[in-house]
Protein backbone atom coordinates (compact mmCIF):
# COMPACT_ATOMS: atom_id res chain seq x y z
CA UNK A 1 0.00 0.00 0.00
CA UNK A 2 2.90 2.33 0.78
CA UNK A 3 4.21 2.48 -2.79
CA UNK A 4 0.71 2.78 -4.20
CA UNK A 5 0.21 5.89 -2.03
CA UNK A 6 3.68 7.14 -2.90
CA UNK A 7 3.07 6.88 -6.64
CA UNK A 8 -0.28 8.62 -6.29
CA UNK A 9 1.65 11.61 -4.94
CA UNK A 10 3.81 11.56 -8.09
CA UNK A 11 0.91 11.80 -10.56
CA UNK A 12 1.66 14.61 -13.01
CA UNK A 13 5.43 14.25 -12.69
CA UNK A 14 7.66 13.02 -15.48
CA UNK A 15 9.12 9.56 -14.87
CA UNK A 16 11.08 7.00 -16.86
CA UNK A 17 9.93 3.40 -16.55
CA UNK A 18 12.49 0.72 -17.38
CA UNK A 19 10.91 -2.62 -18.21
CA UNK A 20 12.17 -6.16 -17.80
CA UNK A 21 12.60 -6.43 -21.57
CA UNK A 22 15.11 -3.53 -21.36
CA UNK A 23 12.71 -1.06 -23.01
CA UNK A 24 12.66 2.34 -21.23
CA UNK A 25 9.72 4.71 -21.60
CA UNK A 26 9.63 8.32 -20.42
CA UNK A 27 6.30 10.02 -19.84
CA UNK A 28 4.04 11.91 -17.50
CA UNK A 29 2.59 9.73 -14.75
CA UNK A 30 -1.16 9.72 -15.34
CA UNK A 31 -2.29 7.10 -12.86
CA UNK A 32 -1.32 4.07 -10.85
CA UNK A 33 -3.29 1.22 -9.26
CA UNK A 34 -2.98 -1.32 -6.46
CA UNK A 35 -0.91 -3.65 -8.67
CA UNK A 36 1.40 -0.70 -9.41
CA UNK A 37 0.27 -0.84 -13.05
CA UNK A 38 1.27 2.51 -14.52
CA UNK A 39 -0.38 4.71 -17.11
CA UNK A 40 1.93 7.20 -18.84
CA UNK A 41 0.98 10.06 -21.14
CA UNK A 42 2.90 11.75 -23.97
CA UNK A 43 5.46 9.03 -23.95
CA UNK A 44 8.87 9.04 -25.52
CA UNK A 45 10.79 5.79 -25.82
CA UNK A 46 14.40 6.14 -24.67
CA UNK A 47 16.69 5.17 -27.57
CA UNK A 48 13.80 5.21 -30.05
CA UNK A 49 16.13 4.51 -32.99
CA UNK A 50 16.64 1.06 -31.53
CA UNK A 51 13.00 0.76 -30.44
CA UNK A 52 10.69 2.21 -33.13
CA UNK A 53 8.02 -0.28 -32.05
CA UNK A 54 5.97 2.37 -30.26
CA UNK A 55 6.28 5.29 -32.70
CA UNK A 56 2.51 5.67 -33.10
CA UNK A 57 1.73 5.42 -29.39
CA UNK A 58 1.15 8.55 -27.28
CA UNK A 59 -0.26 7.09 -24.09
CA UNK A 60 0.30 3.66 -22.65
CA UNK A 61 -0.59 1.30 -19.84
CA UNK A 62 2.32 -0.62 -18.35
CA UNK A 63 1.64 -3.79 -16.39
CA UNK A 64 3.20 -3.60 -12.93
CA UNK A 65 4.66 -7.09 -13.17
CA UNK A 66 6.94 -6.05 -16.02
CA UNK A 67 8.49 -2.96 -14.42
CA UNK A 68 12.16 -3.17 -13.45
CA UNK A 69 12.76 0.46 -12.38
CA UNK A 70 10.83 3.70 -12.15
CA UNK A 71 13.23 6.65 -12.43
CA UNK A 72 11.92 9.65 -10.53
CA UNK A 73 12.66 13.37 -10.65
CA UNK A 74 15.21 14.10 -7.87
CA UNK A 75 12.96 16.74 -6.34
CA UNK A 76 10.03 14.35 -6.42
CA UNK A 77 11.30 12.47 -3.40
CA UNK A 78 10.61 13.69 0.14
CA UNK A 79 12.94 11.36 1.98
CA UNK A 80 11.68 12.28 5.46
CA UNK A 81 8.07 11.52 4.62
CA UNK A 82 9.13 8.25 3.04
CA UNK A 83 11.15 7.35 6.15
CA UNK A 84 8.16 8.00 8.41
CA UNK A 85 5.80 6.02 6.19
CA UNK A 86 8.25 3.12 6.03
CA UNK A 87 8.63 3.05 9.81
CA UNK A 88 4.87 3.05 10.25
CA UNK A 89 4.48 0.28 7.71
CA UNK A 90 7.20 -1.81 9.36
CA UNK A 91 5.64 -1.32 12.80
CA UNK A 92 2.20 -2.23 11.46
CA UNK A 93 3.30 -5.61 10.07
Amino acid sequence: MLFFSYFKELVGKEVTVELKNDLAIRGTLHSVDQYLNIKLENIKVVDDDKYPHMLSVRNCFIRGSVVRYVELPPDGVDVDILHDATRREARGS
Binding site: F4, L19, K20, N21, D22, L23, I25, H30, S31, V32, D33, Q34, N37, I38, K39, I43, K50, Y51, P52, H53, M54, L55, S56, V57, R58, N59, C60, F61, I62, R63, S65, V66
Partner: protein, 98 residues
Amino acid sequence: MSTGPGLESLVNQTISIITNDGRIIVGTLRGFDQATNIILDESHERVYSTREGVQQLALGLYIIRGDNISVVGELDEELDLVNDLSKIKAHPLTPVIH
Protein backbone atom coordinates in the same frame (compact mmCIF):
# COMPACT_ATOMS: atom_id res chain seq x y z
CA MET B 1 -10.95 3.77 -4.99
CA SER B 2 -8.26 1.24 -5.73
CA THR B 3 -9.29 0.60 -9.33
CA GLY B 4 -6.87 3.20 -10.69
CA PRO B 5 -5.88 3.26 -14.35
CA GLY B 6 -8.33 0.90 -16.00
CA LEU B 7 -8.24 0.07 -19.67
CA GLU B 8 -11.82 1.31 -19.69
CA SER B 9 -10.95 4.43 -21.67
CA LEU B 10 -9.34 2.33 -24.40
CA VAL B 11 -12.31 0.03 -25.14
CA ASN B 12 -13.19 0.05 -28.86
CA GLN B 13 -9.97 1.95 -29.59
CA THR B 14 -7.03 0.68 -31.57
CA ILE B 15 -4.29 -0.48 -29.26
CA SER B 16 -0.79 -1.87 -29.63
CA ILE B 17 0.17 -4.61 -27.21
CA ILE B 18 3.72 -5.63 -26.39
CA THR B 19 3.74 -9.22 -25.17
CA ASN B 20 6.29 -10.81 -22.83
CA ASP B 21 7.87 -12.76 -25.68
CA GLY B 22 8.55 -9.49 -27.52
CA ARG B 23 5.73 -9.49 -30.07
CA ILE B 24 3.74 -6.44 -31.11
CA ILE B 25 0.04 -7.09 -31.68
CA VAL B 26 -2.26 -4.32 -32.90
CA GLY B 27 -6.04 -4.48 -32.75
CA THR B 28 -9.28 -3.10 -31.34
CA LEU B 29 -9.77 -3.55 -27.60
CA ARG B 30 -13.14 -5.14 -26.91
CA GLY B 31 -12.76 -6.25 -23.31
CA PHE B 32 -10.42 -6.74 -20.39
CA ASP B 33 -10.46 -7.85 -16.75
CA GLN B 34 -8.56 -7.24 -13.50
CA ALA B 35 -5.87 -9.71 -14.53
CA THR B 36 -5.35 -7.64 -17.70
CA ASN B 37 -6.60 -10.50 -19.90
CA ILE B 38 -7.53 -8.79 -23.17
CA ILE B 39 -10.01 -9.39 -25.96
CA LEU B 40 -8.58 -7.98 -29.16
CA ASP B 41 -10.59 -7.72 -32.37
CA GLU B 42 -9.26 -7.34 -35.95
CA SER B 43 -5.81 -8.02 -34.65
CA HIS B 44 -2.58 -8.30 -36.58
CA GLU B 45 1.00 -8.86 -35.55
CA ARG B 46 3.69 -6.39 -36.65
CA VAL B 47 6.96 -8.22 -37.21
CA TYR B 48 10.06 -6.04 -37.13
CA SER B 49 13.27 -7.21 -38.77
CA THR B 50 16.63 -5.70 -39.59
CA ARG B 51 16.59 -7.01 -43.15
CA GLU B 52 13.20 -5.92 -44.45
CA GLY B 53 10.46 -3.48 -43.43
CA VAL B 54 7.67 -4.25 -40.99
CA GLN B 55 5.50 -7.24 -41.87
CA GLN B 56 1.86 -7.38 -40.80
CA LEU B 57 0.23 -10.80 -40.16
CA ALA B 58 -3.55 -10.90 -39.85
CA LEU B 59 -4.79 -12.78 -36.77
CA GLY B 60 -8.49 -12.00 -36.22
CA LEU B 61 -10.25 -12.14 -32.84
CA TYR B 62 -7.85 -12.97 -30.03
CA ILE B 63 -7.86 -13.39 -26.27
CA ILE B 64 -4.45 -12.57 -24.85
CA ARG B 65 -3.75 -13.77 -21.32
CA GLY B 66 -2.83 -10.98 -18.90
CA ASP B 67 0.31 -12.55 -17.52
CA ASN B 68 1.80 -12.46 -21.00
CA ILE B 69 1.20 -8.72 -21.48
CA SER B 70 3.85 -6.02 -20.85
CA VAL B 71 2.46 -2.84 -22.38
CA VAL B 72 -0.88 -1.73 -23.78
CA GLY B 73 -0.37 1.35 -25.93
CA GLU B 74 -3.06 3.65 -27.28
CA LEU B 75 -2.39 3.77 -31.02
CA ASP B 76 -2.70 7.29 -32.39
CA GLU B 77 -4.24 6.73 -35.85
CA GLU B 78 -2.80 9.98 -37.26
CA LEU B 79 0.72 9.13 -36.15
CA ASP B 80 0.34 5.63 -37.51
CA LEU B 81 -0.54 6.95 -40.97
CA VAL B 82 2.49 9.26 -40.98
CA ASN B 83 4.97 6.46 -40.26
CA ASP B 84 5.76 4.32 -43.30
CA LEU B 85 6.09 0.87 -41.80
CA SER B 86 7.71 -0.63 -44.89
CA LYS B 87 10.74 1.61 -44.31
CA ILE B 88 11.26 0.82 -40.62
CA LYS B 89 13.93 -1.71 -39.79
CA ALA B 90 14.69 -2.77 -36.26
CA HIS B 91 15.69 -5.71 -34.13
CA PRO B 92 12.75 -7.57 -32.65
CA LEU B 93 12.14 -6.77 -28.97
CA THR B 94 13.88 -8.92 -26.39
CA PRO B 95 11.62 -11.14 -24.26
CA VAL B 96 10.85 -10.22 -20.66
CA ILE B 97 13.10 -11.81 -18.06
CA HIS B 98 11.70 -11.69 -14.52
